[in-house]
């Protein structure tokens, strides 16, 4: 099914652009806000009380979005000793198994984080500026979904291309 695979790749390309700008925006926000806090504290002896909480959650969001992006570009930290010793066919199989396994783990993590967010929603605690904690914690189910989809896509794409399509 070349059209299906192409459509997936096209939408993931579009998603990549959105991701890049969202991440760039979040990082600039973080830098500007940090500098503002330093100015306020040192020159006006004041500061935004919930500023630190905001910054720490900003880093969490950026990190998990970055990890989701790293999934597409194959930038995750890994040890790949065995595939180096294998034939093309063996490497193909091993990569397929690893992608499938990663997809399953991300699905489990999604499920766990979904339950976590539900519990937090029931608890209903407010983090800052009337934003409840569960909204901040949505980053977990969201990024694990993205990663599960991407690992799943790697599987489908690998099957579609076969052992010949493997990068050497």
């Amino acid at each position: 099914m070349p059209t299906f695979s192409d459509a997936l790749r096209g939408s993931s390309h579009f998603l990549g652009h959105v991701e890049k700008w969202v991440i760039a925006f979040l990082v600039s926000l973080l830098v500007v806000f940090s500098l503002l806090q330093i100015l306020l504290r040192n020159f006006f002896s004041t500061g935004v009380i919930w500023g630190d909480e905001l910054l720490r959650h900003g880093v969490l969001w950026i990190s998990f979005l970055g990890a989701a992006r790293a999934t597409v570009e194959n930038k995750h930290i890994r040890i790949d000793i065995l595939p180096r010793l294998m034939s093309v066919r063996g490497r193909f199989l091993v990569e397929l198994v690893c992608s499938l396994f990663s997809c399953l783990v991300c699905l489990t993590l999604f499920w766990a984080s979904w339950n976590f967010v539900q519990d937090e929603r029931l608890a209903g605690d407010i983090a800052f500026a009337s934003i409840p904690y569960w909204v901040l914690e949505l980053v977990f189910p969201f990024s694990f979904t993205l990663m599960a989809l991407r690992f799943g896509f790697n599987c489908i794409d690998g099957l579609h291309r076969g052992p010949e399509g493997i990068e050497t």
Binding site: K20, W21, I23, A24, V27, S28, L30, V31, S34, L35, Q37, I38, N42, D52, L55, R56, H57, G58, V59, L60, I62, S63, F64, L65, G66, A67, A68, R69, A70, T71, E73, K75, H76, I77, R78, I79, D80, I81, L82, P83, V94, E95, V97, C98, F101, S102, V105, C106, T108, L109, W111, A112, S113, N115, F116, D119, L136, E137, F140
Partner: protein
Amino acid sequence: MKALLSLLLALLALSGAPLFIVISAAALLCFYLLGVDLSIVIIEMYRLAANPLLIALLFFAFAGYVLAESNAGKRLVGLSTAILGCLPGGLAVVSLLSCAFFTALTGASGITIVALGGLLLPALQSEKYPDNFSLGLLTSSGSLGLLFPPSLPMIIYGVVVGASIPQLFLAGLLPGIFMVLLLSIYSMYKGVRGECRIIAFTFRELFMASQGAVWEILLPVVVFGGIYSGILALSEAAAITVFYVLVVALLINRDVKLRQMPAVVLKTVMMVGGIIIILGAALAFNSFLVDQQIPGRILDWIQTHVESKFVFLLILNVFLLMVGCVLDIYSALVIVAPLIVPIAQGYDINLLHLGVIFLTNLQIGYSTPPIGMNLFIASLRFEESILHLGVASLPFLGILLVALAIITFVPELSLFLVR
């Protein structure tokens, strides 16, 4: 059953499944077998949001990537050549110093070899340094400088074990200088014996070079002046670093364009995200280990077999060297450090000294087979076989091992500045 599952996970890890997946899977499995609700894994991961230091990691990494994108490397090499090029073996010493400085700023993510290797290798060859010497020097220098601030692995160690990061930076300073010094002496010896050419010193050259590099040279002064005078917290100093580097690169030197920024941000975030998600998974896995009192049990077991601190340190070094051979530095730190710290404290080893020992070992692991990252990156960059580079790095590894032994058994070297 449990042994089979562990074996399966280890096999998947060696087959190239992302490490955060393998560690998360281990945590999920352990808690599942205990009958605990799996949201515990996410609750533990969410502790990441309680840590005020991760933002420093992000900011320092970003500043490093911006520097790597600019011509900072070239300028640094220019300045140190103007100062030290006239010594015997001068250019080799220049290579060591600029690699160390650059790695400190960018974290050992292979950027040093990519950014400086292509510049320094032809320079060394044209001054008649032997090929093997030059290749070994540049390969093993790709991780030199991990002990100098604002080293990202050092921040991770501080985050994981809860040590003061400014104090860690101080502790790493003398051991770091010591390693550079030993390697420099060897390089000068090779330079004299090989009758390599030296570069004439002129004040004109020095003036020109320092004009170019003055902003990069001032960066550590501004940032660490801020931290150690007590004006800035670490995360604030990191924010100032980003601001400083951006102003210098975009407005003063203008060697990075604003439209390159989103791509640079993305590169940074992928690296930092990759590290932090492993840290998150390790938080979950370690909470299981602590819950089962496993570090305590390992400590008891070791203490019944190993009595002296000396023998323990020896075993620790061999163990860490082996870890450094198979794991990259960040995963090694987040997985192994929480297990080792309580054991080391049982032997009365200072946390800061332990950090220096950890990083020195893992730095050496970067250049050792089978998966030393320096070897892979250098092999791509210089188009040489990994085996050849491994052999060329041997003398340098030997010197670093001597340095490691001294750093391990002379704690004063690490703790002198802290006290």
